[in-house]
Protein backbone atom coordinates (compact mmCIF):
# COMPACT_ATOMS: atom_id res chain seq x y z
CA UNK A 1 0.00 0.00 0.00
CA UNK A 2 2.86 2.29 0.93
CA UNK A 3 4.65 1.51 -2.33
CA UNK A 4 1.46 2.02 -4.31
CA UNK A 5 0.97 5.57 -3.07
CA UNK A 6 4.60 6.46 -3.78
CA UNK A 7 4.28 5.11 -7.32
CA UNK A 8 1.04 7.06 -7.68
CA UNK A 9 2.88 10.23 -6.64
CA UNK A 10 5.63 9.52 -9.15
CA UNK A 11 3.08 8.96 -11.90
CA UNK A 12 1.45 12.27 -11.03
CA UNK A 13 4.87 13.90 -11.38
CA UNK A 14 5.27 12.45 -14.85
CA UNK A 15 1.81 13.46 -15.98
CA UNK A 16 1.58 16.93 -14.42
CA UNK A 17 3.94 18.65 -16.82
CA UNK A 18 3.87 19.06 -20.59
CA UNK A 19 6.67 16.56 -21.15
CA UNK A 20 4.36 13.61 -22.02
CA UNK A 21 2.58 15.82 -24.55
CA UNK A 22 5.91 16.75 -26.14
CA UNK A 23 6.82 13.09 -26.50
CA UNK A 24 3.38 12.28 -27.86
CA UNK A 25 3.88 14.94 -30.50
CA UNK A 26 7.20 13.30 -31.42
CA UNK A 27 5.38 9.97 -31.84
CA UNK A 28 2.76 11.59 -34.04
CA UNK A 29 5.43 13.25 -36.19
CA UNK A 30 7.20 9.90 -36.61
CA UNK A 31 3.85 8.31 -37.45
CA UNK A 32 3.09 10.98 -40.04
CA UNK A 33 6.51 10.49 -41.62
CA UNK A 34 5.89 6.73 -41.70
CA UNK A 35 2.52 7.20 -43.41
CA UNK A 36 4.07 9.50 -46.03
CA UNK A 37 6.92 7.03 -46.60
CA UNK A 38 4.48 4.13 -47.05
CA UNK A 39 2.20 6.13 -49.32
CA UNK A 40 4.78 7.79 -51.54
CA UNK A 41 8.11 6.10 -50.89
CA UNK A 42 9.70 3.58 -53.24
CA UNK A 43 12.67 1.23 -53.31
CA UNK A 44 15.76 2.14 -55.35
CA UNK A 45 14.20 0.53 -58.41
CA UNK A 46 11.03 2.55 -58.11
CA UNK A 47 8.96 -0.39 -56.86
CA UNK A 48 7.16 -0.64 -53.55
CA UNK A 49 8.67 -3.96 -52.55
CA UNK A 50 9.28 -2.67 -49.03
CA UNK A 51 5.56 -2.97 -48.29
CA UNK A 52 4.65 -5.81 -50.60
CA UNK A 53 4.48 -8.61 -48.01
CA UNK A 54 3.15 -9.09 -44.49
CA UNK A 55 6.72 -9.41 -43.20
CA UNK A 56 7.72 -6.15 -44.93
CA UNK A 57 4.73 -4.34 -43.47
CA UNK A 58 5.41 -5.77 -40.00
CA UNK A 59 9.01 -4.60 -40.27
CA UNK A 60 7.78 -1.15 -41.31
CA UNK A 61 5.50 -0.80 -38.31
CA UNK A 62 7.79 -2.42 -35.72
CA UNK A 63 8.46 0.32 -33.20
CA UNK A 64 10.28 -1.42 -30.34
CA UNK A 65 13.72 -0.10 -31.30
CA UNK A 66 12.40 3.46 -31.47
CA UNK A 67 10.45 2.91 -28.26
CA UNK A 68 13.64 1.95 -26.43
CA UNK A 69 15.35 5.19 -27.40
CA UNK A 70 12.37 7.54 -27.09
CA UNK A 71 11.23 6.16 -23.76
CA UNK A 72 14.85 6.07 -22.65
CA UNK A 73 15.10 9.80 -23.25
CA UNK A 74 11.78 10.29 -21.46
CA UNK A 75 13.01 8.43 -18.38
CA UNK A 76 16.38 10.19 -18.39
CA UNK A 77 14.86 13.66 -18.67
CA UNK A 78 12.14 12.96 -16.11
CA UNK A 79 14.53 11.79 -13.41
CA UNK A 80 17.44 14.13 -14.14
CA UNK A 81 15.11 17.14 -14.04
CA UNK A 82 14.00 16.08 -10.56
CA UNK A 83 17.53 16.71 -9.40
CA UNK A 84 17.92 19.82 -11.49
CA UNK A 85 14.78 21.42 -10.12
CA UNK A 86 15.31 20.15 -6.59
CA UNK A 87 11.94 18.40 -6.45
CA UNK A 88 13.82 15.29 -5.40
CA UNK A 89 14.13 16.94 -1.97
CA UNK A 90 10.37 16.58 -1.53
CA UNK A 91 10.58 13.01 -2.76
CA UNK A 92 13.19 12.05 -0.19
CA UNK A 93 11.44 13.93 2.59
CA UNK A 94 8.25 11.97 1.91
CA UNK A 95 10.13 8.70 1.39
CA UNK A 96 13.41 8.87 3.30
CA UNK A 97 14.39 5.33 2.38
CA UNK A 98 16.11 6.11 -0.88
CA UNK A 99 15.85 2.63 -2.38
CA UNK A 100 12.08 2.73 -1.90
CA UNK A 101 11.84 6.19 -3.49
CA UNK A 102 14.01 5.25 -6.47
CA UNK A 103 12.14 1.96 -6.94
CA UNK A 104 8.93 3.97 -7.17
CA UNK A 105 10.54 6.30 -9.72
CA UNK A 106 11.64 3.32 -11.78
CA UNK A 107 8.22 1.69 -11.55
CA UNK A 108 6.53 4.90 -12.68
CA UNK A 109 9.07 5.28 -15.48
CA UNK A 110 8.33 1.71 -16.59
CA UNK A 111 4.60 2.41 -16.69
CA UNK A 112 5.01 5.69 -18.55
CA UNK A 113 7.57 4.20 -20.94
CA UNK A 114 5.29 1.25 -21.64
CA UNK A 115 2.43 3.59 -22.47
CA UNK A 116 4.72 5.62 -24.75
CA UNK A 117 5.86 2.40 -26.43
CA UNK A 118 2.30 1.20 -26.91
CA UNK A 119 1.20 4.56 -28.29
CA UNK A 120 4.22 4.65 -30.57
CA UNK A 121 3.51 1.21 -31.98
CA UNK A 122 -0.19 1.95 -32.27
CA UNK A 123 0.47 5.19 -34.12
CA UNK A 124 3.05 3.44 -36.29
CA UNK A 125 0.66 0.61 -37.17
CA UNK A 126 -2.10 3.10 -37.88
CA UNK A 127 0.25 5.15 -40.03
CA UNK A 128 1.28 2.13 -42.09
CA UNK A 129 -2.38 1.20 -42.53
CA UNK A 130 -3.23 4.78 -43.53
CA UNK A 131 -0.31 4.97 -45.95
CA UNK A 132 -1.26 1.69 -47.57
CA UNK A 133 -4.62 3.13 -48.62
CA UNK A 134 -2.73 5.26 -51.13
CA UNK A 135 -1.03 2.18 -52.64
CA UNK A 136 -2.06 -0.97 -54.42
CA UNK A 137 -1.33 -3.05 -51.35
CA UNK A 138 -3.70 -3.96 -48.55
CA UNK A 139 -2.94 -4.40 -44.85
CA UNK A 140 -1.49 -7.91 -44.66
CA UNK A 141 -0.17 -8.19 -41.10
CA UNK A 142 -2.05 -10.79 -39.06
CA UNK A 143 -3.69 -9.91 -35.78
CA UNK A 144 -1.23 -12.07 -33.85
CA UNK A 145 1.76 -10.35 -35.49
CA UNK A 146 0.19 -6.96 -34.87
CA UNK A 147 -0.25 -7.89 -31.21
CA UNK A 148 3.40 -8.96 -31.10
CA UNK A 149 4.51 -5.62 -32.53
CA UNK A 150 2.40 -3.72 -30.00
CA UNK A 151 3.55 -5.90 -27.09
CA UNK A 152 7.20 -5.67 -28.07
CA UNK A 153 7.04 -1.89 -28.29
CA UNK A 154 5.24 -1.70 -24.94
CA UNK A 155 7.89 -3.84 -23.30
CA UNK A 156 10.75 -1.98 -24.99
CA UNK A 157 9.27 1.36 -23.98
CA UNK A 158 9.09 0.28 -20.37
CA UNK A 159 12.63 -1.08 -20.43
CA UNK A 160 13.98 2.00 -22.18
CA UNK A 161 12.38 4.32 -19.64
CA UNK A 162 13.85 2.32 -16.75
CA UNK A 163 17.27 2.46 -18.40
CA UNK A 164 16.95 6.21 -18.93
CA UNK A 165 15.71 6.75 -15.38
CA UNK A 166 18.73 4.87 -14.07
CA UNK A 167 21.07 7.00 -16.16
CA UNK A 168 19.21 10.14 -14.99
CA UNK A 169 19.58 9.13 -11.33
CA UNK A 170 23.26 8.42 -11.86
CA UNK A 171 24.17 11.57 -13.80
CA UNK A 172 21.49 13.97 -12.40
CA UNK A 173 22.11 16.52 -15.14
CA UNK A 174 19.55 16.59 -17.96
CA UNK A 175 22.03 17.12 -20.77
CA UNK A 176 24.36 14.52 -19.37
CA UNK A 177 21.56 12.02 -18.85
CA UNK A 178 20.29 12.47 -22.42
CA UNK A 179 23.81 12.06 -23.76
CA UNK A 180 24.40 9.01 -21.58
CA UNK A 181 21.18 7.37 -22.74
CA UNK A 182 21.96 7.98 -26.41
CA UNK A 183 25.47 6.64 -25.86
CA UNK A 184 24.12 3.49 -24.24
CA UNK A 185 21.34 2.80 -26.73
CA UNK A 186 22.53 4.25 -30.01
CA UNK A 187 26.25 4.96 -30.20
CA UNK A 188 28.06 2.35 -28.11
CA UNK A 189 26.26 -0.84 -29.28
CA UNK A 190 27.44 -0.62 -32.94
CA UNK A 191 30.95 0.16 -31.72
CA UNK A 192 30.80 -2.91 -29.49
CA UNK A 193 29.76 -4.98 -32.50
CA UNK A 194 32.72 -3.62 -34.45
CA UNK A 195 35.03 -4.79 -31.71
CA UNK A 196 33.30 -8.11 -30.87
CA UNK A 197 31.05 -9.29 -33.67
CA UNK A 198 29.32 -11.88 -31.45
CA UNK A 199 27.62 -9.06 -29.58
CA UNK A 200 25.54 -8.15 -32.63
CA UNK A 201 22.63 -10.32 -31.51
CA UNK A 202 22.55 -8.76 -28.04
CA UNK A 203 22.55 -5.05 -28.74
CA UNK A 204 19.29 -3.20 -27.98
CA UNK A 205 18.22 -2.63 -31.60
CA UNK A 206 18.62 -6.30 -32.54
CA UNK A 207 16.86 -7.47 -29.39
CA UNK A 208 13.97 -5.10 -30.07
CA UNK A 209 13.63 -6.52 -33.58
CA UNK A 210 13.68 -10.07 -32.24
CA UNK A 211 10.92 -9.31 -29.76
CA UNK A 212 8.95 -7.58 -32.51
CA UNK A 213 9.17 -10.74 -34.62
CA UNK A 214 11.13 -9.24 -37.52
CA UNK A 215 14.47 -10.84 -36.70
CA UNK A 216 15.38 -14.23 -35.26
CA UNK A 217 19.06 -14.16 -34.36
CA UNK A 218 18.17 -15.20 -30.79
CA UNK A 219 15.07 -16.75 -29.24
CA UNK A 220 12.40 -14.41 -27.92
CA UNK A 221 12.75 -15.50 -24.27
CA UNK A 222 16.46 -14.73 -24.01
CA UNK A 223 15.87 -11.52 -25.99
CA UNK A 224 13.29 -10.33 -23.46
CA UNK A 225 15.65 -11.20 -20.62
CA UNK A 226 18.51 -9.37 -22.32
CA UNK A 227 16.40 -6.24 -22.84
CA UNK A 228 15.51 -6.45 -19.17
CA UNK A 229 19.19 -6.60 -18.28
CA UNK A 230 19.95 -3.58 -20.47
CA UNK A 231 17.39 -1.71 -18.34
CA UNK A 232 18.07 -3.15 -14.90
CA UNK A 233 21.86 -2.74 -14.81
CA UNK A 234 21.89 1.09 -15.26
CA UNK A 235 18.87 1.33 -12.96
CA UNK A 236 20.66 -0.63 -10.23
CA UNK A 237 23.79 1.49 -10.60
CA UNK A 238 21.66 4.64 -10.41
CA UNK A 239 19.87 3.38 -7.32
CA UNK A 240 23.15 2.52 -5.65
CA UNK A 241 24.53 5.99 -6.38
CA UNK A 242 21.40 7.72 -5.07
CA UNK A 243 21.48 5.73 -1.83
CA UNK A 244 25.04 6.86 -1.12
CA UNK A 245 24.90 10.49 -2.19
CA UNK A 246 23.85 13.59 -0.33
CA UNK A 247 21.09 15.72 -1.79
CA UNK A 248 22.84 19.05 -2.22
Amino acid sequence: MNSFRIVRAELRKLTSTKMPLAFLIVLVVIGAATAVAVAFGTDMDGSKTFISSAADQQSMMAFAGNALVIAGLFGAIAVAREYGHGTVVLTFLATPRRSEAVSAQLAAAFVAGSVLGLFGAGISAGSVAAGLTATDFGFMVSVSDLVQVLTASTLAGGAGAVLGAGVGALIRNTGGAVTGTILLLVILPPLAVQMVSETASWIPGTLANVVSGIESSVAIGPAILAIGLWAVVPAAIGMFAVARRDVV
Binding site: V89, L93, V247
Partner: protein, 327 residues
Protein backbone atom coordinates in the same frame (compact mmCIF):
# COMPACT_ATOMS: atom_id res chain seq x y z
CA UNK B 1 7.81 41.02 -2.40
CA UNK B 2 4.73 39.12 -1.47
CA UNK B 3 2.19 39.40 1.22
CA UNK B 4 1.60 36.23 3.17
CA UNK B 5 -1.83 35.66 4.57
CA UNK B 6 -2.17 32.70 6.89
CA UNK B 7 -5.64 31.56 7.71
CA UNK B 8 -6.38 29.30 10.61
CA UNK B 9 -6.94 25.64 9.90
CA UNK B 10 -10.48 24.54 10.63
CA UNK B 11 -10.48 22.90 14.10
CA UNK B 12 -12.22 19.80 12.79
CA UNK B 13 -9.53 19.40 10.11
CA UNK B 14 -6.71 19.66 12.58
CA UNK B 15 -8.41 17.19 14.88
CA UNK B 16 -9.02 14.79 12.02
CA UNK B 17 -5.44 15.08 10.83
CA UNK B 18 -4.09 14.42 14.30
CA UNK B 19 -6.23 11.32 14.57
CA UNK B 20 -5.21 10.15 11.15
CA UNK B 21 -1.57 10.68 11.92
CA UNK B 22 -1.86 8.38 14.94
CA UNK B 23 -1.35 11.35 17.15
CA UNK B 24 2.12 12.70 16.43
CA UNK B 25 0.96 15.96 17.97
CA UNK B 26 0.28 14.08 21.18
CA UNK B 27 4.00 13.94 21.98
CA UNK B 28 6.76 16.45 21.75
CA UNK B 29 9.72 16.22 19.43
CA UNK B 30 12.95 17.85 20.50
CA UNK B 31 15.55 18.09 17.77
CA UNK B 32 18.98 16.95 18.81
CA UNK B 33 22.26 17.50 17.04
CA UNK B 34 24.98 15.49 18.76
CA UNK B 35 28.62 15.91 17.79
CA UNK B 36 27.81 16.32 14.11
CA UNK B 37 30.70 16.84 11.74
CA UNK B 38 30.37 17.08 7.97
CA UNK B 39 33.31 17.15 5.62
CA UNK B 40 33.32 17.48 1.85
CA UNK B 41 36.67 16.46 0.50
CA UNK B 42 39.15 18.25 2.69
CA UNK B 43 36.75 20.96 3.83
CA UNK B 44 34.88 20.68 7.11
CA UNK B 45 31.62 22.61 6.80
CA UNK B 46 30.12 21.50 10.13
CA UNK B 47 32.51 20.83 12.98
CA UNK B 48 31.54 18.81 16.07
CA UNK B 49 28.22 20.60 16.39
CA UNK B 50 25.89 19.85 19.30
CA UNK B 51 22.69 21.55 20.38
CA UNK B 52 19.07 20.79 21.18
CA UNK B 53 15.97 22.51 19.84
CA UNK B 54 13.18 22.33 22.38
CA UNK B 55 9.48 21.89 21.64
CA UNK B 56 7.16 24.73 22.48
CA UNK B 57 9.67 27.36 21.43
CA UNK B 58 10.72 29.03 18.22
CA UNK B 59 14.43 28.49 17.72
CA UNK B 60 16.30 30.72 15.30
CA UNK B 61 19.31 29.26 13.54
CA UNK B 62 21.80 32.01 12.74
CA UNK B 63 25.11 32.26 11.04
CA UNK B 64 26.87 34.00 8.17
CA UNK B 65 26.51 32.57 4.69
CA UNK B 66 28.45 29.32 4.48
CA UNK B 67 28.35 28.79 8.24
CA UNK B 68 26.81 25.34 7.80
CA UNK B 69 23.15 26.06 8.62
CA UNK B 70 21.63 24.47 5.52
CA UNK B 71 23.98 21.50 5.74
CA UNK B 72 22.98 20.94 9.37
CA UNK B 73 19.30 21.08 8.42
CA UNK B 74 19.86 18.62 5.58
CA UNK B 75 21.64 16.24 7.93
CA UNK B 76 18.72 16.55 10.36
CA UNK B 77 16.30 15.70 7.55
CA UNK B 78 18.31 12.78 6.23
CA UNK B 79 19.12 14.55 2.97
CA UNK B 80 22.83 14.53 3.76
CA UNK B 81 24.80 12.13 5.88
CA UNK B 82 27.00 13.25 8.75
CA UNK B 83 30.66 12.33 8.60
CA UNK B 84 30.31 11.69 12.32
CA UNK B 85 27.71 12.34 15.00
CA UNK B 86 23.95 12.02 15.03
CA UNK B 87 20.91 14.17 14.34
CA UNK B 88 17.60 13.01 15.76
CA UNK B 89 13.99 14.10 15.92
CA UNK B 90 12.27 12.91 19.07
CA UNK B 91 15.14 10.50 19.55
CA UNK B 92 14.95 8.97 16.07
CA UNK B 93 16.80 9.61 12.85
CA UNK B 94 14.50 11.14 10.23
CA UNK B 95 14.61 7.99 8.13
CA UNK B 96 13.49 5.93 11.13
CA UNK B 97 10.36 8.00 11.80
CA UNK B 98 7.24 5.94 11.17
CA UNK B 99 5.48 8.93 9.62
CA UNK B 100 8.22 11.37 8.54
CA UNK B 101 6.10 13.99 6.80
CA UNK B 102 3.41 13.64 9.45
CA UNK B 103 6.06 14.45 12.04
CA UNK B 104 8.25 17.02 10.31
CA UNK B 105 7.23 19.69 7.86
CA UNK B 106 10.26 21.05 6.08
CA UNK B 107 11.11 23.67 3.52
CA UNK B 108 14.80 23.67 2.75
CA UNK B 109 14.98 25.11 -0.76
CA UNK B 110 12.84 28.02 -1.83
CA UNK B 111 12.68 27.12 -5.49
CA UNK B 112 12.46 23.33 -5.38
CA UNK B 113 9.62 23.19 -7.87
CA UNK B 114 9.26 21.97 -11.43
CA UNK B 115 8.69 25.27 -13.25
CA UNK B 116 6.13 23.73 -15.56
CA UNK B 117 4.02 22.20 -12.81
CA UNK B 118 1.24 24.09 -11.07
CA UNK B 119 1.42 24.86 -7.39
CA UNK B 120 -1.65 22.71 -6.80
CA UNK B 121 -0.12 19.71 -8.57
CA UNK B 122 3.11 20.19 -6.65
CA UNK B 123 1.16 19.76 -3.43
CA UNK B 124 -0.98 16.96 -4.83
CA UNK B 125 2.16 14.94 -5.50
CA UNK B 126 3.17 15.32 -1.86
CA UNK B 127 -0.39 14.48 -0.82
CA UNK B 128 -0.28 11.31 -2.92
CA UNK B 129 3.07 10.30 -1.46
CA UNK B 130 1.91 10.86 2.10
CA UNK B 131 -1.62 9.51 1.69
CA UNK B 132 -3.07 12.89 2.60
CA UNK B 133 -6.60 13.69 1.38
CA UNK B 134 -6.48 15.96 -1.67
CA UNK B 135 -8.93 18.34 0.03
CA UNK B 136 -6.10 19.22 2.40
CA UNK B 137 -4.19 20.65 -0.57
CA UNK B 138 -6.85 23.28 -1.09
CA UNK B 139 -6.89 24.01 2.63
CA UNK B 140 -3.17 24.74 2.85
CA UNK B 141 -3.29 26.74 -0.38
CA UNK B 142 -5.97 28.84 1.29
CA UNK B 143 -3.88 29.08 4.47
CA UNK B 144 -0.95 30.62 2.60
CA UNK B 145 -3.19 32.69 0.34
CA UNK B 146 -2.16 30.94 -2.87
CA UNK B 147 -5.58 29.66 -3.96
CA UNK B 148 -5.90 32.19 -6.77
CA UNK B 149 -2.53 31.19 -8.24
CA UNK B 150 -2.82 27.48 -7.50
CA UNK B 151 -3.27 26.44 -11.13
CA UNK B 152 -0.50 28.67 -12.45
CA UNK B 153 2.92 27.27 -13.30
CA UNK B 154 5.21 27.46 -10.28
CA UNK B 155 7.95 28.74 -12.58
CA UNK B 156 5.96 31.95 -12.97
CA UNK B 157 5.71 32.49 -9.21
CA UNK B 158 7.61 35.27 -7.48
CA UNK B 159 10.09 34.34 -4.75
CA UNK B 160 7.50 35.22 -2.12
CA UNK B 161 4.91 32.95 -3.75
CA UNK B 162 7.47 30.15 -3.91
CA UNK B 163 8.16 30.64 -0.21
CA UNK B 164 4.44 30.36 0.47
CA UNK B 165 4.20 27.21 -1.63
CA UNK B 166 7.11 25.74 0.30
CA UNK B 167 5.39 26.64 3.55
CA UNK B 168 2.16 25.06 2.30
CA UNK B 169 4.07 21.85 1.59
CA UNK B 170 5.57 21.93 5.09
CA UNK B 171 2.13 22.41 6.63
CA UNK B 172 0.34 19.85 4.45
CA UNK B 173 0.45 17.00 6.96
CA UNK B 174 -0.01 19.30 9.96
CA UNK B 175 3.24 18.12 11.57
CA UNK B 176 4.34 18.87 15.15
CA UNK B 177 7.81 19.87 13.92
CA UNK B 178 8.64 22.60 11.43
CA UNK B 179 12.12 22.94 9.94
CA UNK B 180 12.31 25.97 7.66
CA UNK B 181 15.34 27.34 5.87
CA UNK B 182 15.07 31.10 5.33
CA UNK B 183 11.26 31.15 5.14
CA UNK B 184 11.01 34.93 5.24
CA UNK B 185 13.05 35.59 2.10
CA UNK B 186 11.00 37.43 -0.48
CA UNK B 187 8.04 38.12 1.81
CA UNK B 188 6.90 41.65 2.34
CA UNK B 189 6.71 43.08 5.89
CA UNK B 190 3.06 42.05 6.27
CA UNK B 191 3.94 38.57 5.06
CA UNK B 192 6.84 38.34 7.49
CA UNK B 193 4.56 39.40 10.33
CA UNK B 194 1.94 36.83 9.40
CA UNK B 195 4.57 34.12 9.09
CA UNK B 196 5.87 35.11 12.50
CA UNK B 197 2.40 34.87 14.01
CA UNK B 198 1.87 31.45 12.46
CA UNK B 199 5.17 30.08 13.74
CA UNK B 200 4.69 31.54 17.19
CA UNK B 201 1.17 30.10 17.35
CA UNK B 202 2.45 26.65 16.44
CA UNK B 203 5.19 26.86 19.06
CA UNK B 204 2.63 27.96 21.63
CA UNK B 205 0.72 24.74 20.90
CA UNK B 206 3.79 22.79 21.97
CA UNK B 207 5.20 22.22 18.50
CA UNK B 208 8.87 22.44 17.63
CA UNK B 209 9.79 25.29 15.30
CA UNK B 210 13.34 25.53 13.95
CA UNK B 211 13.96 28.39 11.53
CA UNK B 212 17.17 29.48 9.90
CA UNK B 213 17.49 33.05 8.80
CA UNK B 214 20.03 35.70 8.03
CA UNK B 215 17.43 38.41 8.62
CA UNK B 216 18.43 39.32 12.16
CA UNK B 217 15.57 41.73 12.71
CA UNK B 218 13.14 38.98 11.78
CA UNK B 219 14.72 36.51 14.16
CA UNK B 220 14.85 39.07 16.92
CA UNK B 221 11.09 39.38 16.82
CA UNK B 222 10.36 35.72 16.16
CA UNK B 223 12.68 33.50 18.15
CA UNK B 224 12.61 32.44 21.77
CA UNK B 225 15.99 30.73 21.47
CA UNK B 226 18.85 31.08 19.06
CA UNK B 227 21.61 28.78 17.91
CA UNK B 228 24.49 30.63 16.29
CA UNK B 229 27.03 29.06 13.98
CA UNK B 230 30.20 30.43 12.49
CA UNK B 231 32.49 28.45 10.22
CA UNK B 232 30.65 25.27 11.07
CA UNK B 233 31.09 25.58 14.81
CA UNK B 234 28.60 26.43 17.53
CA UNK B 235 29.26 29.96 18.73
CA UNK B 236 26.48 30.27 21.24
CA UNK B 237 22.99 29.04 21.99
CA UNK B 238 20.32 29.81 24.50
CA UNK B 239 17.42 32.04 25.27
CA UNK B 240 17.55 35.10 23.09
CA UNK B 241 16.57 37.43 25.93
CA UNK B 242 19.27 36.03 28.20
CA UNK B 243 21.89 36.21 25.50
CA UNK B 244 21.01 39.79 24.73
CA UNK B 245 21.30 40.67 28.43
CA UNK B 246 24.44 38.72 29.08
CA UNK B 247 26.71 41.77 29.44
CA UNK B 248 26.99 44.44 32.13
CA UNK B 249 28.15 47.98 31.71
CA UNK B 250 30.48 49.32 34.44
CA UNK B 251 31.79 52.87 34.71
CA UNK B 252 34.45 53.61 37.25
CA UNK B 253 37.25 56.13 37.78
CA UNK B 254 39.80 53.31 38.17
CA UNK B 255 38.57 51.29 35.22
CA UNK B 256 41.85 49.53 34.58
CA UNK B 257 42.24 48.50 38.19
CA UNK B 258 38.69 47.22 38.14
CA UNK B 259 39.41 45.28 34.95
CA UNK B 260 42.16 43.34 36.75
CA UNK B 261 39.88 42.64 39.69
CA UNK B 262 36.99 41.44 37.54
CA UNK B 263 39.21 39.31 35.34
CA UNK B 264 40.59 37.74 38.51
CA UNK B 265 37.01 36.93 39.50
CA UNK B 266 36.46 35.09 36.22
CA UNK B 267 34.80 37.84 34.22
CA UNK B 268 35.35 38.46 30.52
CA UNK B 269 36.09 42.18 30.31
CA UNK B 270 36.16 44.40 27.25
CA UNK B 271 36.88 48.09 27.10
CA UNK B 272 34.01 50.35 26.16
CA UNK B 273 33.98 54.13 26.20
CA UNK B 274 36.83 55.73 28.21
CA UNK B 275 36.41 54.70 31.82
CA UNK B 276 33.83 52.10 30.88
CA UNK B 277 34.01 48.31 30.86
CA UNK B 278 31.70 45.72 29.32
CA UNK B 279 31.70 42.64 31.53
CA UNK B 280 30.39 39.16 30.77
CA UNK B 281 30.29 36.11 32.98
CA UNK B 282 29.58 37.94 36.22
CA UNK B 283 26.26 39.07 37.60
CA UNK B 284 25.59 42.68 38.62
CA UNK B 285 25.76 41.64 42.29
CA UNK B 286 29.10 39.93 41.80
CA UNK B 287 30.57 42.93 39.99
CA UNK B 288 29.35 45.27 42.73
CA UNK B 289 30.80 43.09 45.48
CA UNK B 290 34.16 42.70 43.74
CA UNK B 291 34.41 46.45 43.25
CA UNK B 292 33.43 47.12 46.87
CA UNK B 293 36.00 44.61 48.17
CA UNK B 294 38.68 46.24 46.02
CA UNK B 295 37.70 49.70 47.21
CA UNK B 296 36.86 50.94 43.75
CA UNK B 297 34.01 53.41 43.46
CA UNK B 298 31.49 52.71 40.71
CA UNK B 299 29.72 55.52 38.87
CA UNK B 300 27.51 53.23 36.89
CA UNK B 301 26.59 49.55 36.98
CA UNK B 302 23.85 48.47 34.60
CA UNK B 303 22.75 45.59 32.44
CA UNK B 304 23.64 46.11 28.81
CA UNK B 305 21.02 45.18 26.23
CA UNK B 306 22.55 44.69 22.82
CA UNK B 307 20.58 44.35 19.63
CA UNK B 308 20.73 40.91 18.10
CA UNK B 309 22.74 42.41 15.28
CA UNK B 310 25.38 43.69 17.70
CA UNK B 311 25.45 40.38 19.51
CA UNK B 312 25.61 38.47 16.21
CA UNK B 313 28.66 40.38 15.04
CA UNK B 314 30.28 39.90 18.41
CA UNK B 315 29.58 36.16 18.32
CA UNK B 316 30.63 35.50 14.79
CA UNK B 317 33.24 38.19 14.28
CA UNK B 318 31.78 38.57 10.81
CA UNK B 319 29.00 40.38 9.15
CA UNK B 320 30.00 41.61 5.79
CA UNK B 321 27.92 38.93 4.09
CA UNK B 322 25.11 38.96 6.61
CA UNK B 323 22.44 41.56 6.33
CA UNK B 324 20.29 43.03 8.96
CA UNK B 325 16.64 43.66 8.42
CA UNK B 326 14.43 45.64 10.69
CA UNK B 327 11.53 45.14 8.30
Amino acid sequence: MQQLSIHQTAPETRSQLSDDATGPSARSYPLSIEGVTKSYGGATVVNDLSFVVEPGRVTGFLGPNGAGKSTTMKILLGLASATSGHATIGGLAYSDLSDPTGTVGASVEADAFHPGRSGRNHLRILADATDTPLERVDEVLEMVDLSAAANRRAGAYSLGMKQRLGLAAALLCDPPVLVLDEPGNGLDPQGVRTLRNLLRARAAEGNTVFVSSHLLGEVEQLADDVVVLAQGRLVTQGSLSELRHSASLVRAVSAEALRVVLQGAGGLVESGQPGTLVVRGLSLDEIGEEAFNAGIALHELSRQTDSLEERFFAWTGAGSDTQSSKE
